[in-house]
């Protein structure tokens, strides 16, 4: 009886890469109709485990049983035939092709050798309905919001008659509301008997969705527990020690005004934004995804132009659309899209750390290589970047360490005001705390931080003041004392005075 219920079993799996043992003696099992969460810090081996399950990696030792028979998952196609579908963080969708074709890519139903569009679209529509997403099968994938892309991926997995659905951090990029929709779908699939493996960094999601939890630490499976295990206990299992303080904010005295923004407007993106950041302060910028927070940050920093308003740093006005002027004045931006905008992935840690200071420290056009290397070493040491050497490519670092490198380049430039856009997205619990400590150190030494975050507990825990944005406008300001999740959320969904919200719907953030 129990044997028929078991979809997947992993016993004593070991996987080594040159210099690293990614998995060591890992056990794991998945039953029909359950959601099994995989928990662990970045680098604990979660990604390697799901790659073993989906055939991307072959284990060096140990065995994998698929429905009770020992199987070597050869590759992704083989995994698909076994009924194992995987949705990675980076979606495997072709942007300029329709939703229906993406779902059936490579398996399009054919008639007389030609693609049978009508049948394909009908089948796609049925799948999309089962997932419960309102997207036309004929829509191009480009232009769909991230949440819908995910739903299309799920529909694609269902089209393979997947019995096992593996999702790598599916909620990392979703808003609270979108997460809830995803969970509804997951629950429905669970009722249909699908086994779901799901990775998350958000502990509260475990209680909300999962049935069981396997905790990985340093490549070993350290615990198999029920989803009702208290969060503190889960954290302790994950990091091997307890984190007494998740948000170790220390609030120094605030000083002079470092950054002042007045009436900043960019048509179609944000309107009449006022904000001020003082020395020693952390100002949180909260709101739903698409509220215009990132756009404001980019315009303040000069990465994008703006139509009207003023930006002043240390009481001196800053010209618009000029990154270099902003940098010289003392602003720094840690962008939301770390890999796409923050890092040169195939360059070394040293080069990435030196990116901002490269120009200013050059003499007569020649780079000060020795100086660059010395300061990169120093800052990498200060930040505790875990790397094999200063010349390691940043692509091979974990998310947390990559983020430290992005922050590090601005520390080297000694920026007075650092704009952090989603600084801990995709960063594990241990590294998060290290980043928070860094924020403390910065503000203690008279710097200031403007922090955009969709992680409400983080905003509440780390900010001294919180500005909330909705539909391109600042809808309210809360002090650390008066801020609660409910207070922030009610401001975040507040309807702005602007009647037209077209741009937002076009951007594809699920409407209300």
């Amino acid at each position: 009886m129990s044997s028929t219920d078991e979809l997947l079993r992993v016993e004593g799996v070991r996987k080594a890469f040159p210099g690293v043992i990614a998995l060591d003696d890992v056990d794991f099992d998945l039953r029909r109709g359950e959601v099994h969460a995989l928990l662990g810090e970045n680098g604990a081996g979660k990604s390697t485990l799901i790659k073993v399950l989906s055939g991307a990696h072959r284990p060096d030792r140990g065995r994998i049983l698929v429905e009770d028979s020992e199987t070597l998952v050869r590759d992704a196609q083989h995994a698909a035939r076994l009924g194992i579908a995987t949705i990675y963080q980076e979606f495997n969708l072709v942007p300029d092709v329709t939703v229906a074709e993406n779902i059936f890519l490579g398996r399009q139903p054919r008639r007389f050798g030609f693609i049978d569009h009508r049948r394909m679209e009908a089948e796609a529509a049925a799948l999309l309905e089962r997932v419960g997403v309102d997207v036309s099968p004929r829509a191009k994938v480009r232009g769909l919001g991230i949440a819908r892309l995910q739903m299309v991926e799920i529909a694609k997995a269902l089209s393979l008659n997947a019995k096992v659905l593996i999702m790598d951090e599916p909620t990392a990029v979703l808003t609270t509301e979108e997460v809830e929709r995803l969970f509804t779908i997951a629950r429905r699939l669970r009722e249909d008997g699908v086994g779901i493996v799901f990775i998350t960094h958000h502990l509260e999601e475990i209680g909300a969705l999962a049935d069981r939890v396997t905790v990985l630490r340093d490549g070993r499976s350290v615990a198999h527990v029920g989803a009702d295990t208290p969060e503190d206990e889960l954290v302790r299992l994950m990091v091997g020690r307890s984190i007494d303080e998740q948000y170790p904010r220390e609030r120094p005295e605030t000083g002079e005004s470092l950054l002042r923004v007045r009436g900043l407007t960019r048509a179609g993106h944000f309107e009449d934004v006022d904000l001020e950041v003082r020395a020693g302060e952390v100002v949180g910028l909260a709101g739903l995804v698409g509220a215009g927070r990132t756009e404001v940050a980019r315009s303040v920093f000069g990465a994008d132009p703006y139509d009207s308003g003023t930006v002043e740093v240390l009481d001196r006005p800053l010209p618009g659309g000029d990154v270099n002027a902003a940098m010289t004045a003392g602003l720094g931006l840690v962008p939301e899209d770390r890999k796409g905008q923050g890092l040169v992935l195939d360059a070394s840690v040293e080069e990435n750390l030196g990116l901002v200071t490269l120009g200013p420290t050059s003499k007569a056009g020649f780079v000060n290589l020795a100086g660059q290397r010395a300061s990169a070493r120093r800052i990498a040491g200060d930040l505790g970047v875990r790397m094999s050497s200063i010349s390691q490519h940043v692509r091979t670092l974990s998310g947390g360490n990559q983020q430290k490198v992005v922050i590090g380049k601005w520390l080297l430039a000694d920026s007075r005001v650092l704009i952090l856009d989603e600084p801990t997205r995709g960063v594990d619990a241990g590294a998060k705390v290290e980043i928070y400590r860094l924020v403390n150190e910065l503000t203690a030494s008279g710097h200031a931080v403007l922090m955009i975050s969709s992680d409400l507990p983080e905003v509440l825990g780390m900010s001294d003041r919180i500005l909330v944005m909705a539909q391109g406008r600042i809808t309210g300001e809360l002090s650390a004392q008066e801020a609660t999740q409910d207070a922030v959320m009610s401001l975040a969904v507040a309807a702005g005075p602007r009647s037209s919200t077209e741009e937002h719907e076009v951007e594809g953030h699920d409407g209300h």
Binding site: F17, A22, A303, L333, Q341, V344, L355, F366
Partner: protein, 647 residues
């Protein structure tokens, strides 16, 4: 003995590790070993310097392209910009009489200006680099033709020095190439501009948000590429002592190949000066070696393509399995896996080497017998006329029992110079040269003169150097005859058009001027259009179609060769129009068309006879006979009446 092998094993493994880490260098080493095994002439100091000279132009172009490719772009215009800069130099120094110390900087400035235009279009006009530089490829080529009026401009001696050797042995182009590689390396490694190229190519948005002024850097990058192209153009022209408007065609692709063979990624962010140098040397060693081995001109192109693919494949394999450092892409690991993988890699390398060696020895005609060897460099083998010339020469060689080595210059004066240089180093008894350009053939033939190797010019003369004799048919006279025949055919009155050959070639100039001279005697004949169709049949068809569209009915067409004439005839018949078409050359197809009445007439040159006579003279001079200064091979108008006497 045992200790000996142990020691050499240690050195060998260190060497092997070094070579594996430098994929392109490994390929170069393999090539050099293979070439020196197959040819005794390869590994001599003189020949290695030749390889250096032959690599110089592509290498310098490729250094410029390296900047562009590292920053994530592509530059297709470098060949044209090189030709334009050289033409500007020739125009200023020779035509305008500008002193050389100001003409050289102005030529360099031309390259920079072209690069800046590319940069502006790409950085501020937001054109894709492929498109912007493709446009510049055409613009640069066009401007250099406009400026030179299609003819090569000979350069003053003070410039030609740049193409010669210091102290009689150290070639200036090699020195300049080495200086440029150092400059490139310093820019890439040591300067802010260079480091910014890597950052921009790696992630443009991250670079911008880190305060790197991407647009300004792009301007600089393309300007630098233009500057390097200008330097390459000047070297190219000075080596030939002539600025050729048609020079360096297709060199942009060789340059890109050199950069990619050298390990750069077309996606940007990766590449090095040293790698590019190795890439350029691989191409030069290949061309040189294949010449020395007398591999058939057609197979050479195949071999070059195969080696480019193998070189890059080798590098990719190395990178995928090599010290990527836990990229986690390898499916196998552990000592077993890596040993197996290393085995596979070595097997691939061995197989590739065996393939190249095997192919080359297969393609190499049996040599080693003590027969007289005569070299023949033809301007192109992409045209039946020259094929017939080759066949005539080959027939004569077979009869006389001498070995004939034929090379194909692909209408590129610089490649022809390389081939002549290679004939000199393999020590042929004599050579027959069919120059791409009479001026440009001067310096390399001068080199043959210095080595006391007699040279016979075929079809076109060689300027500023000594040739034993010129075997040619009289193109000017042929043009006149064609004009006369055409006038008779249409009753000395009517509207006619002229299809010209490749602008700037001597054949086109001479035939054209003979025809113009002849037709001027008939005042009632109006030449309504003259357009170039590059001696090419399909271009002839297109151009003729356009001219018919633009000029209405015409009575006759003169095409400067048979290929274009056949194209024109096809254009006429597809529109259901009739006109007298006269071609030139008397190729087999042309004669057949005359017999069928598709062509009215062709001025027959008897190319096979040309080749035969040229080779006969070359053999005669080897045997110590003295020759006439010129040997004229008769030209004759072939019409339906007398076509049976030909072919």
């Amino acid at each position: 003995m045992a200790t000996d092998t142990g020691k050499s094993g240690g050195t060998w493994s260190a060497l092997r590790r070094f070579l594996l880490e430098n994929g392109a260098l490994t390929a170069l080493a393999i090539l050099v070993v293979v070439m020196s095994l197959l040819s005794d002439d390869f590994l001599t100091a003189q020949n290695l310097l030749n390889v250096g000279v032959q690599a110089a132009v592509i290498a310098i172009l490729a250094f410029g392209v390296t900047f562009v490719i590292i920053s994530g772009g592509i530059d297709l215009s470098v060949g044209s910009v090189a030709a334009l800069s050289a033409t500007v130099l020739g125009f200023l120094a020779t035509v305008q009489g500008v002193p050389i110390w100001s003409a050289l900087p102005l030529a360099a400035a031309t390259g920079v200006a072209c690069g800046l235009v590319n940069g502006v279009l790409i950085a501020y006009g937001r054109l894709p680099s492929f498109i912007a530089t493709l446009a510049m490829l055409s613009i640069g080529r066009g401007l250099s033709l406009v400026l030179s009026e299609g003819s090569p401009i000979s350069l003053p001696d003070s410039v030609a020095v740049l193409g010669r050797s210091l102290g009689g042995w150290l070639p200036v182009p090699v020195i300049i190439m080495l200086v440029m590689v150092l400059v490139t390396a310093v820019i890439l490694r040591r300067t802010f501009a260079g480091r910014a190229m890597y950052a921009i190519g790696g992630n443009e948005e991250a670079a911008r948000l880190s305060g790197i002024r991407v647009k300004r850097h792009q301007l600089g990058i393309y300007a630098l590429s233009g500057l390097f192209a200008a330097v390459a153009g000047i070297i190219l022209a000075s080596r030939l002592a002539s600025a050729q408007p048609q020079a360096a065609q297709g060199y942009e692709l060789d340059a890109i190949a050199a950069v990619v063979i050298g390990g750069a990624s077309l996606a940007g962010g990766v590449g090095s000066a040293f790698g590019t140098l190795v890439g350029a040397l691989i191409l030069a060693v290949l061309r040189n070696g294949l010449n020395l081995l007398s591999v058939s001109a057609f197979w050479q192109q195949v071999v070059i393509g195969v080696v480019i693919a193998i070189a890059v494949l080798f590098d990719t394999l190395r990178r995928r399995s090599g010290g990527g450092g836990g990229a986690g892409s390898g499916a196998d690991s552990g000592t077993n896996g890596s040993r197996r993988k290393r085995g596979i890699r070595l097997a691939v390398a061995a197989a590739a080497t065996a393939l190249v060696v095997g192919a080359l020895s297969f393609l190499t005609p049996n040599s080693g017998t003590e027969t007289t060897r005569i070299g023949m460099s033809l301007s192109t083998l992409n045209n039946p006329f020259f094929l017939q010339m080759r066949d005539g020469a080959q027939a004569e060689a077979d009869e006389a029992g001498v070995e004939l080595v034929v090379t194909d210059a692909q209408d590129d004066a610089s490649q022809q110079a390389d081939q002549i240089q290679n004939f000199v180093s393999t020590g042929v008894a004599a050579m027959v040269i069919n120059p791409v350009d009479s001026d440009a053939a001067g310096p390399p033939v001068g080199g043959a003169n210095n080595a006391d190797i007699p040279v016979v010019a075929a079809d076109r003369g060689v300027n500023e150097a000594h040739v034993e004799t010129l075997v040619a048919s009289d193109n000017v006279e042929g043009g006149r005859l064609a004009a006369q025949e055409l006038a008779d055919a249409i009753g000395e009155e009517g509207r006619i058009v002229v299809l010209q050959g490749t602008p700037g070639t001597s054949a086109s100039r001479e035939r054209g001027s003979g025809f113009e001279e002849g037709i001027a005697e008939f005042p009632d004949i109006e030449v309504v259009a003259r357009q170039p169709a590059d001696f090419d049949r399909s271009k002839g068809l297109d151009v003729m179609t356009n001219m018919l569209q633009g000029n209405g009915d015409i009575d006759a067409v003169f095409a400067e060769n048979d290929e274009m004439a056949l194209g024109a005839a096809a254009a006429l018949s597809s529109r259901g129009e009739e006109a007298v078409v006269i071609g030139f050359d008397g190729t087999p197809e042309g004669l057949e068309a005359v017999a069928e009445g598709t062509l009215y007439a062709s001025v027959a040159q008897r190319p096979a006879e040309l080749g035969r006579v040229a080779l006969r003279n070359a053999i005669a001079v080897v045997e110590g006979e003295s020759l006439e200064e010129t040997v004229m091979v008769p030209v004759e108008v072939v019409t339906e009446e007398n076509v049976d006497e030909f072919g």
